[in-house]
Symmetry: C2
Subunit: 147 residues, 2 copies
Amino acid sequence: MVDILHRIAVEGRTTDDVYQALATIDGLADWWTEDTTGGTGTGEEIAFRFPQGGFDMKVLESEPGRRVLWEVVGGTPEWIGTRIHWDLRQEEDWAVVLFKHEGWAEPIEFMHHCSTKWASFLLSLKALVEDGKGAPAPRDVRVDNWG
Amino acid sequence: MVDILHRIAVEGRTTDDVYQALATIDGLADWWTEDTTGGTGTGEEIAFRFPQGGFDMKVLESEPGRRVLWEVVGGTPEWIGTRIHWDLRQEEDWAVVLFKHEGWAEPIEFMHHCSTKWASFLLSLKALVEDGKGAPAPRDVRVDNWG
C-alpha cells in the first residue's frame, strides 16, 4: 500500500475556518469541485462530480477544528476503499493541514497524476480560506494531459 | 522506504525542451532556485541553494529527451541518499514528466511538506517551458509556515 502526502498551512486563519471548508457542502464546492452534493455528517456520503467523472466519499470521522476522514465508496476503481485524512493543527498564526490519501494498491502513473492534482487543490483550499478565492473544478489548474 | 510521486505535462513542447530545463544550470535556475551552480554532466554535482539551506545532487544519469536521475549527496539529513527521478515521454502534443523522489526512510511531516513543494516547483517547471515564466526560489509559491 502506498500513500499520497501533503502539507499546507493557512495564514491568519484558524483550524475552525479550515474545517468549515472541509465539512460543509458549500465549503467543499468552493475549492474542490463546484458540483458537490450530499451530507457531511459522520456516516453520510458526499458526491463529488467533475467533468470527467466523480467520487463518492463516506464520512468516517468529522471533529470540528481537528480532523475529517473520508472513505472512497464510489468512483474510479483505483480509489475505491482508499481513505482521505485531513488532520488540522494550529501553529501560532497558521492553520496547518496534514493530508494523506491512504491505501493505493500500487504506485501507478495515475497515482502520480492524482498527487500533483491534490497539491493544486490543496493550494486552492489555502487560497479560499485565506482570500475567499478557490479554484474548484471546472475552473481548476491543469497539471497534465489528463486534467 | 516511501516515495513522493508527481506527474505533469507540458503542452506544445517536446521532451527535449523539458530536458533543457533539467540538464542545464540556467534551466534549473529558472524554475527551482535562482542560486544553482555546478555541473550537470553524468558524475558531476549540482549545488542548489535556498534562503533556508540547500542540496547537492550527484548526476547519476542524464539522457537527452529521456531521463535524468540525481542522488542527494549533501543537505538536509532526511534527503541524503534519496534519489530523484525525472522520466520524460512524448504523448502527441504533450511532454509528459514522471517524477519520483525515492527512498525516504519514514513518512515524516517534512515529507508531506516536500511533496507539496515539489508539486508547486513542477508547476513552475511547466510554466517555464510553456511560457518562459517559472517561479524559482526566492520567488517560489509558499505552501505552509515552513516555506
